[in-house]
């Protein structure tokens, strides 16, 4: 009997986790953020419940500042696969005119992402939310359980996590508590790309290099996706061959110069890269323990 390959093991583990939630939780939802990890998560969810349709809806917490290509890809995916998608955008944030440019990345992320997510989960009464986060992304994520228990207020208690032996997940919780569940916990960025290549999973074209309009801002290349990105006096829009390693709100997401236009080239480029995936994320650098702090407040 041949030993299972590395990706096979990861795939089986993720499918097991997805099924465990559906078998034991009342109202699960899949947080769909449109990026590559979400694409893999969605693909695995479809495999887990085949031939049935997904037994839970997708939730996209929009901020109004995603790349236009992301939204187009999202709608095309939902239509192609016949999915049930909920889009939530924090109405209070919209009313207050919150934007990553005017309000700063911290306020924007807190109001539009963290508060928006909590609103949507509470409104629909979801008790388990799948996310595509990976432990290799960031040092506090490396510490998080696969079933991450959240309080009634969605808080994470990093110092009091439940022990989690083997694949025996304790799916019991008190009324009002919920789980964030991470089936891709043990995947690395390289695993995700290898799996996308192996399974031919469609991803947003922004991951592939193309000539795009960018400006240099605070050492980061920001794509000017629409006119809301008002140029500073000394800034000029240049067309450069760039791609993105992660996707988020466009004014907060740095592009990398690249010529990788195929999956093979992306994988080759990544294995030679000397900087981490999240380096292009402005919000990760807001403070030493910023991801942990955001998670404690209810962020993914």
């Amino acid at each position: 009997m041949a030993a299972l390959g590395h990706l096979q093991r990861l795939e089986a583990e993720a499918i097991f986790i997805l099924r465990e939630v559906v078998a034991t939780c009342d109202k699960p939802v899949l947080l769909y953020s449109i990026g590559k990890d979400s694409a893999v998560l969605l693909h695995l969810a479809q495999k887990a419940f085949y031939p049935a349709k997904l037994p839970f809806p997708l939730l996209h917490v929009d901020t109004g500042w995603k790349f236009r290509e992301m939204i187009a890809f999202r709608d095309e995916t939902v239509a192609r696969l016949g999915l049930d998608l909920i889009v939530h955008i924090n109405p209070d944030g919209v009313a207050a005119g919150i934007s990553p440019l005017a309000s700063g990345s911290q306020v924007h992320t807190d109001v539009m992402k963290t508060q928006g997510l909590k609103q949507a989960l509470d409104q629909h009464g979801f008790d388990a939310a799948f996310g595509g986060a990976r432990r290799d992304e960031e040092k506090s994520r490396a510490k998080e359980r696969i079933f991450s228990l959240r309080t009634v207020d969605h808080r994470w208690d990093p110092k009091g996590q439940r022990p989690e032996p083997w694949a025996l997940f304790n799916t019991r919780k008190l009324k009002g508590e919920s789980f964030r569940v991470f089936p891709l916990s043990n995947w690395t960025e390289a695993d995700v790309w290898s799996y996308i290549a192996q399974e031919k999973i469609p991803v947003v074209p922004l991951y592939f290099a193309a000539p795009r309009p960018v400006v240099q801002r605070a050492g980061t290349l920001i794509m000017r996706d629409d006119e809301r990105l008002v140029l500073q006096p000394d800034e000029v829009v240049e067309t450069r061959m760039v791609r993105f390693r992660t996707l988020g709100c466009y004014p907060l997401t740095g592009a990398v110069e690249s010529t990788a236009t195929t999956l093979e080239e992306i994988i080759a480029e990544m294995s030679g890269s000397r900087v981490s995936e999240r380096q292009g994320r402005v919000i990760d650098h807001d403070g030493a323990a910023s991801m942990e702090a955001k998670k404690q407040e209810g962020y993914f």
Binding site: I15, A52, K53, K159, S276
Partner: protein, 539 residues
Amino acid sequence: MRPALTAHGDSGDFVAASPQIALLRFITCGSVDDGKSTLIGRILFEAGAVFEDQLEALDRDSRKFGTVDGGRDFALLVDGLSAEREQGITIDVAYRYFATPRRSFIVADTPGHEQYTRNMATGASTADCAVILIDARMGVLPQTRRHSFIVSLVGVKRIVVAINKMDLVDCDQRVFETIAKDYRQAVAGLGFETIDVIPVSARDGDNIRQASARMPWYQGPTLLTWLETVDMSEAAAEGEQGVFPVQYVNRPDHLFRGFAGTVATGRVAVGDGVVSLPSMRQSRVARIVTADGDWPQAEAGQAVTLTLGDEIDTSRGDVLVVQPRTGIVQVRRQGTARVLVTGDQPLRVGGAYEIKLATATAQTVISAIHHVVDIETYRPGMADDLPMNAIGQISLRLDRPVPMTAYRDSAVLGGFILIDRISRQTVAFGFMDADVADLPVGKSDELTRPLVNLRDRLLGPSGSVLRRQRLEAVSWRLTGALVLAVVMAGLDLPLPVIGTVVLADLLVRPVLKVLHHHVWQTARQPAPALSDLDQGDGI
């Protein structure tokens, strides 16, 4: 079984004969401040898994929180929680990933503090092998022994001992040899198959990837080489029982009814006859459905959906076992198990919990606590309860029959957790034993054990509801007899008469009651069904 103690540097193990696993999961463990996190940080760095921006952040953090004067504190790469960085300790397990040209690795860096033992055990539970760290200045400490015990409890057979901070003992070979000998002695009874020992300096990188120039007397593999080459061929015994715990019934419409799950052991193939436990209904595997098309068979670890030839009633928590049966999976209503207590409240006899074993859940009561393991000597001792972090052996009664195996036969069907019914917390990790008969008995209580057993049989286990009830019954009986004697004395009956009546009341009635009870027991016995399976009637 005596563990084979290979000499450090013995390269016999490093010849790969059978297909090696591509992904190795290991942990670092040991006592507080032995340098576990530093070691992992160092390994990540040496393996090229630390990116430039992360290295810059590390240098910033080292200046701010670092414990290494003017240098890089590699532990900060791994200790990712703000409380950990501020206190310079590890609180919870960190999972990190790296690859070399030979293997991919998932490493769990576990905390050394006793208070966080449950987090260490979380990391250990999924490990294929373990790196046990020992501070060269401190030698084998209680926490080294505790972690070694937990590592053996979860079934890890191959360990490597990294004797760390050799730089602080002048890279002295004698210090190394002494600790290596002490350690081997300390864990001689734990059943490890190989114990290799490597002298390292995690801070400076000696014998991590590069052989140390300061320790030319050490000729064995470096730590990374050991990890890349440790023999982990999955010795999957041909003919292992095909076992499939049903995780979820997939029923999109009335035409399709599939049993989704992950093959626990062996293999399941289309056409195989299967028995569904505990119902004992039989059927045949009709299809193995996956999104990539139907498969002819599925192997241990693969997540698939089975359809069966007959409409048998099977649901989550049931286990499909491929015919012919080998007797490994048993349907039981009770079990003896070793437990590691993870809850704040001690486990007590009479305590009621929810048990989760594979995909099954049931209600359970602790019917006895047999012993607690002394972490210094590994000897079992008597205990009335098992407090947090204790390891002991208990018996459990379940409210319904559950298919299970001994933990040593399958972690999937022999490992369980106990869940508190009110707080919903995980209060213990459990490891099912094969049989109640082979309870290890500690030297200290060899003499008292038969007496204790007799007492427990007559009165019920200590602290149990049963014992209270029995004691209450005895006291009621004696009070009754006393009242009878007083009444008869008041009636001026002669002493021999009083004596006879009281004695008859005390003895004859219970005997009659027992006989009567016995008659009813036999009459009420159900037809040879599930309850008969409880005692080892293997499927």
